[in-house]
């Protein structure tokens, strides 16, 4: 099972800088990836001047655009899938 945890900052500052657009991407990917994608919400990630910010598997990503986030999540998912495949294949 591949698990990716994504946590969008819902703070007002990130919201003003387009956090909602990232939320839309996450919703779309949630439909595609189902249980593989765990969605969390943060009230502030303390990097307000650089927003919109997202936590991805414990790593902080600042100033994200919807395209960047989508690519990051999908790339992460592909890598994890590959890893899983390798371990189960042995």
């Amino acid at each position: 099972m591949t698990k990716i945890t994504v946590g969008l900052c819902a703070g007002t500052s990130c919201h003003l800088m387009g956090g909602m657009d990232l939320g839309t991407v996450i919703e779309e990917l949630k439909v595609k990836l189902g249980d593989d994608l765990q969605v969390q919400k943060h009230t502030c990630l303390n990097q307000c001047r650089k927003g919109p910010n997202v936590m991805l598997n414990g790593m902080l990503f600042v100033g994200m655009t919807p395209e960047q986030l989508k690519n990051e999540i999908l790339a992460l998912h592909d890598r994890e899938e590959e890893n899983n495949h390798d371990t189960t294949g042995q």
Binding site: T12, S13, H15, L16, M17, G19, D21, C48
Partner: protein, 508 residues
């Protein structure tokens, strides 16, 4: 059109936030001169030819954020000098609400049709055949359009088998439904104030972010920090704008934390308007007038007055929900500073002319102010909201079709009234429906005119796509205790008290 936050929007919001932050912290005069440099350094991407131009554009954006016009007399002055001027002088009354930042305007091409390198100089020369003005010649190895002969009919583009002819629009001109945005001799955009309805469409459509309106952030910060009582009146379109879905509790708490002594919903004013306007309709149509037009959208009202003067007499005489609400509040708070918070640019002028509303913030400006004051609504999710004084009908004014729906319910009090409601969103659609009314070809005798597509929820100062916010509006509407304006006892009583003063013709 999906509302998405692009780089231009981010820059505008950043400038607003940082300007507001300086004033909120009392450092405006001391630090404003360094702000363009700081913003240029903070922003990694370069969009313009050089750093100097970026700084110069930031300086212009800061002027607008400080509520100053970009008039030539402000051109060579330091930002700190201008900031001092802005803080001590009331804003100039008769100037335009929306302005072009000349140095940010890229002077997009005026010529509508271009022949690109995809032109193969084929034997058919369909483009030449299609052009009835003889504007196309073959120069070198390519077709060429003589722009002095071209009438922009587009036949050549349709005729070319290679799709080699490109149709180009200036986004600002394409966005303006009344042709108020035109090009000067340097191809820079200018706004014809005699035609402009302040709708704000051009502002959100310019990909260079070269069109913007004046913000009132500085004076509102002064009121919030000062001794005066302050009231925030929020438009019903505020639902969902700050990211808390249909909940208004966090927003109300945040506004109080910002320093507003009272927070009120304009949807109560909309109830008053729904009641008053349906009564007016029953009295006017069809006996005195063949039809009536709604008067709550200031850009639509201005559009009718300037561009359809023959139909202006059919506008409802009711004031807008914003003004109705302010008049209700003025009874108890004669000296308070009343600030309207909405998605609308045109309300800024309407408020100034109304003399009962002191200031206006868009949702975008409000969010910038929250950030400037370090207020985070996401941490207030638990805040409870008080019971609303408004009905679902009143709240519904925020969405296209909402005024008509409220009128349908309001008119039920007049048994023999013949009410057939129509609605139009976007000024193009408004124009089409007005023409139908003029020719007596319309199936309706009341027209709700909204300048923005989607109604107020789709306004230029909105932060969230109106299809999302419409859902939140419906959810909250269904939860409200009172569904129809006609059942809102408090509104009925208020209307009796204020009655005449809510009509524009009255002197009271």
């Amino acid at each position: 059109m999906t509302l998405q936050v692009n780089e231009v929007t981010k820059i505008r919001r950043k400038v607003m936030t940082e300007t507001a932050r300086l004033h909120w912290n009392g450092n405006l005069i001391k630090e404003i001169d360094q702000l363009p440099e700081r913003l240029t350094a903070e922003h990694e991407h370069r969009y313009r030819c050089c750093e100097f131009k970026e700084k110069a554009i930031y300086a212009e954006r800061i002027k607008l954020a400080m509520g100053l016009s970009l008039a030539p007399e402000h051109a060579k002055k330091r930002l700190s000098t201008l900031a001092r001027h802005s803080l001590t002088h009331s804003h100039e009354k008769n100037r335009s609400q929306v302005e072009v930042i000349d140095i940010a305007c890229d002077g997009c091409p005026i010529d509508k049709y271009f022949i690109t390198n995809a032109c193969r100089n084929c034997l058919g020369h369909n483009c030449q055949q299609a052009c009835r003005r003889g504007a196309i010649t073959i120069v070198g190895n390519q077709a060429y359009i003589d722009q002095s002969k071209c009438v922009e009919c587009g036949m050549c583009r349709k005729a070319c088998k290679y799709g080699a002819i490109l149709e180009v629009h200036r986004p600002c001109e394409a966005a303006c439904p009344v042709n108020a945005v035109i090009a000067d001799q340097n191809r820079k955009a200018i706004i014809d104030n005699g035609k402009c309805t302040d709708c704000g469409n051009c502002m959100v459509s310019c990909p260079f972010g070269a069109i913007s309106d004046h913000s009132q952030l500085l004076k509102i910060i002064d009121w919030l920090k000062g001794e005066e009582k302050t009231v925030a009146m929020v438009a019903p379109a505020i639902i969902g704008q700050m990211g808390q879905k249909e909940k208004l509790g966090p927003l109300f708490q945040a506004l109080k934390q910002l320093g507003f002594d009272r927070v009120e919903e304009v949807s109560f004013g909309a109830d008053l308007v729904a009641l008053g306007e349906s009564e007016e309709f029953a009295n006017r149509v069809p006996v005195k007038d063949p039809y009536m037009l709604s008067s709550c959208c200031p850009a639509f009202v201005k559009f009718v007055k300037i561009h359809r003067p023959g139909q202006a007499e059919y506008l409802s005489t009711m004031v807008s929900p914003m003004v109705a609400m302010a008049k209700t509040l003025r009874e108890d708070l004669p000296l308070a500073k009343i600030v309207f918070i909405g998605p609308c640019v045109a309300k800024k002028r309407e408020a100034m002319e109304s003399k009962v509303v002191d200031g206006v913030l868009t949702f975008e400006e409000l969010a910038a102010l929250f950030v400037a004051a370090d207020i985070n609504l996401a941490t207030m999710e638990e805040a409870q909201e008080e019971a609303s004084k408004a009905s679902k009908d009143g709240q519904g004014f925020a969405a296209a079709g909402g005024v008509r729906a409220a009128m349908v319910n309001g008119i039920k009090r007049f048994a023999d009234a013949d009410f057939r409601g129509g609605s139009a969103q976007g000024l193009e659609e408004c124009l089409a429906q007005l023409k139908l009314l003029e020719k007596s070809e319309a199936s309706f005798n009341f027209l709700e005119g909204m300048a923005c597509s989607g109604g107020c929820l789709g306004g230029p100062g909105a932060l969230v796509d109106n299809r999302q916010t419409k859902r939140f509006l419906d959810v909250r509407g269904s939860q409200l205790e009172c569904q129809n304006s006609g059942d809102n006892r408090l509104a009925i009583e208020k209307l009796k008290d204020l009655g005449h003063s809510l009509h524009k013709s009255s002197k009271k």
